[in-house]
């Protein structure tokens, strides 16, 4: 599970860039019927996550209670309330991928990066998330890396994926 925001805690204040991203998401979605999901997607596309401090302005713009917005964010697996690593690897752990040994891939990430589902590697390169079926069940095991689907993922192939995440030219910026 994702660590979720504690509604009682004071959230980290928003940066100017985050405020701007929230304004963009609100402007793009506020007039849609059932606007909250598209709005949250739009925000997360820009920031990589939904900062807890964005709840009050979103609630106000849509005329919802803060509890409503918080409830939606925590209900859906897609929405993160903490920043992800530079790359997000979503490893499928559903049946067809299990039939082709996806547990070995999960173990391999654990061995190599010391992380399990919902965690980010210490170097900030990779966040590993569980996903339940990517529709690539005839070429299982499968994963999504930054939205790009991979199939027939062997340990070697996974290593190549992780290599490109870890050595992406941004290692030093930490």
């Amino acid at each position: 599970m994702q660590p979720t925001a504690d509604p009682g805690a004071t959230p980290v204040p928003l940066t100017a860039a985050q405020r701007a991203a929230i304004d963009v998401a609100i402007a793009a979605c506020r007039d849609l019927p059932g606007a909250l999901l598209p709005l949250l997607h739009k925000l997360q596309e820009q920031l990589g996550y939904v900062p807890p401090a964005s709840i009050p302005p979103i609630a106000k713009a849509l005329g919802l209670s803060q509890a409503d917005v918080h409830g939606v964010i925590t209900f859906y697996h897609d929405f993160r309330t903490t920043p992800p690593g530079r790359h997000v690897v979503k490893l499928c752990r559903a049946e067809a991928c299990q039939a082709m040994g996806c547990q070995r891939l999960e173990q391999h990430v654990q061995d190599r990066l010391g992380i399990t589902f919902g965690q980010t590697s210490a170097d900030g390169a990779v966040t590993l998330e569980a996903v339940y079926c990517l529709g690539n069940c005839a070429l299982s095991p499968a994963l999504l890396v930054d939205g790009r689907l991979q199939g027939r993922v062997s340990k070697e192939r996974l290593d190549r994926v992780l290599d490109t995440c870890v050595h992406d030219g941004k290692e030093a910026q930490r």
């Binding site: 019927p33 059932g34 606007a35 909250l36 999901l37 598209p38 949250l40 997607h41 849509l62 409503d68 409830g71 939606v72 209900f75 859906y76 697996h77 897609d78 929405f79 979503k90 559903a94 049946e95 067809a96 991928c97 299990q98 039939a99 082709m100 547990q103 070995r104 173990q107 996903v131 339940y132 079926c133 990517l134 529709g135 690539n136 069940c137 005839a138 070429l139 299982s140 499968a142 999504l144 939205g147 689907l149 991979q150 199939g151 027939r152």
Partner: protein
């Protein structure tokens, strides 16, 4: 000399094993050699063990090469593949491949054949005939054809479509919706994805016809977020349909309006359940609604809504074009038409098999699937997604029809078939079924929310027959009978089928994974 047509799939699964790299290599090599080609990106033919599958249009028809890597491409040109030349990767004429030839593709007739980004290509291959026919019919006539067809919902519950159409059509005029369930959450299924990526206008046409029949001028599509490529494909098709006057204020100049909204899910399996999907479309948590009211009477935003799976809607254009009787003439018993089965998991020839209902599971697994990918014996298959039963080889002669499957203690669901070899630990699979239910439960009712977590704990304590097994059966009984929806209600199906058919796997304690 005219350019030779070369086809490379743009389907997400084909791309996941290098189709884009192959397409780029084909372009580059053609340029280097100075030969004229027309590269067309299509959907997938659904023979995934051959992906990336490259086809070339020759005088004798399309021929297939696969699985092709970018490194193979210069060799293919050298072997004269643009004329269908001999090469170790050549399989001959695509249509003659046994895997395709034995199928009866109705819904999938165009998938892998046409350019999904061209409405013109869609029409050139028989598209829009159903819609044109529907525009000349009275709404009640369209509903009658769907009734006659015997079409049952392909999303899992197999409810007769005609009855829903009639109910929505009979609601007083006013705002109504057609809602397409493209949440395709079941492991082992990808037919919705393949149609959306490979023939998106088919879905649009099906929704348009449904709108005409029930009096809805808006359609909503709920597409899972796990399908980014499908979203791009569908958005592009909707944009083109608007530009070409297929969608909008006057559909094909008829004066009747219809437009589509595309919404992305957010990674919740339960949002495939139709009422949870409606909540999600309304921007709320995906909590299951009690029924009644039926969505056909009070659905999306409280308005009458015709909700269907992608495959159900994709069957509609043919039903209207060729008549309900054509559809009813395929299949067996009360299972009419064809079902696009999806072979998945540990299977040698994984892919899409569209056949009329009635073939046996064994034929599908061996004649099409060719047994396991690992070469080991098949121990179990799960049919119908994560809420479907695990079946042992003794049940493989069950005919693939809804009633026969129910009788065998299973369900066909959305037609996904996941194959496991003899290394699978069925107790671990039973445990996973409970765990999945715990992760994905909407939390509205106790048997499902608490029962699933309890189920994991109980299974962990099982080491042979005894009180823990009895406890598990009790728990499953409660979940089956006291859950509000099929999430909690059917999770016992994989659990108990594993227990009943593979008791030996429950005879020992936890096994090391790996």
């Amino acid at each position: 000399m005219t350019a030779v047509k070369v086809f490379v799939p743009i389907d997400a699964a084909a791309r996941s094993v290098g189709a884009d790299e192959v397409a780029a290599a084909v372009q580059a090599e053609a340029k280097r050699l100075g030969v004229a080609i027309e590269l067309i990106r299509t959907g997938s033919r659904g023979m995934f063990w051959l992906e990336p599958l490259v086809e070339v249009a020759t005088a004798a028809g399309r021929v297939a090469y696969g699985p092709v890597t970018a490194a193979d491409v210069p060799g293919l040109f050298a072997a004269g593949f643009l004329q269908g030349g001999k090469h170790p990767l050549l399989h001959g004429k695509t249509e003659e491949l046994a895997f395709l030839k034995r199928q009866q593709r109705v819904t999938f007739a165009r998938v892998g054949v046409v350019d999904p980004r061209s409405l013109r290509d869609y029409e050139a291959h028989g598209g829009l005939r159903g819609l044109r026919a529907a525009l000349a019919m009275a709404p009640a006539q369209i509903v009658d054809e769907v009734m006659t067809s015997g079409l049952r919902g392909r999303g899992g519950a197999a409810f007769p479509a005609g009855i829903k159409w009639k109910t929505v059509a009979q609601q007083p005029p006013g705002q109504k919706y057609v809602v397409c369930n493209a949440d395709e959450g079941d492991s082992g299924t990808y037919s919705d994805r393949m149609v959306i990526e490979g023939d998106p206008f088919l879905l649009i046409e099906g929704m348009l016809i449904a709108g005409l029949a029930v009096g809805a001028d808006q359609g909503w599509i709920y597409l899972r977020s796990e399908y980014p490529d499908a979203e791009v494909a569908l958005m592009a098709a909707i944009d083109m349909a608007r530009r070409e006057g297929l969608l909008g204020k006057s559909v094909l100049g008829s004066g009747r309006a219809f437009d589509l909204h595309l919404r992305r899910g957010a990674g919740a399996y339960i949002c495939g359940e139709e009422t949870a999907m409606l909540e999600s479309l309304e921007g709320k948590r995906g909590m299951v609604r009690p029924k009644p009211p039926l969505p056909a009477i009070a659905g999306l935003f409280g308005k009458p809504s015709l909700i269907h799976n992608v495959m159900s809607l994709a069957a509609v254009p043919t039903i209207v074009e060729k008549g309900g009787a054509f559809h009813a003439g395929l299949g067996v018993g009360r299972s009419k038409g064809t079902l696009p089965f999806q072979l998945a998991g540990n299977v040698k020839h994984g892919g899409l098999v569209e056949v009329p209902f009635g073939m046996t599971l064994r034929e599908l697994l061996y004649d099409f699937g060719g047994g396991t990918a690992s070469g080991r014996p098949i121990k179990a298959v799960q049919v119908g997604g994560p809420l479907g039963a695990y079946l042992p080889p003794a049940k493989f002669d069950t005919p693939l029809d809804y009633e026969a499957f129910a009788q065998a203690g299973g369900m066909l669901g959305h037609g996904g078939i996941v194959v496991f070899d003899d290394t699978v630990d069925m107790k671990a699979m039973a445990r996973y079924a409970m765990e999945f239910c715990a992760v994905e439960s909407c939390g509205k009712c106790t048997p499902c929310r608490i029962g699933s977590t309890r189920g994991v704990e109980v299974i962990d304590q099982i080491a042979g027959p005894g009180p823990q097994v009895a406890l598990l059966r009790d728990l499953c009984d409660t979940m089956t009978h006291a859950s509000l929806c099929a999430m909690g209600g059917l999770t016992p199906m994989p659990v108990l089928s594993a227990l009943d058919h593979f008791p030996e796997d429950f005879a020992r304690g936890a096994r090391a994974r790996g």
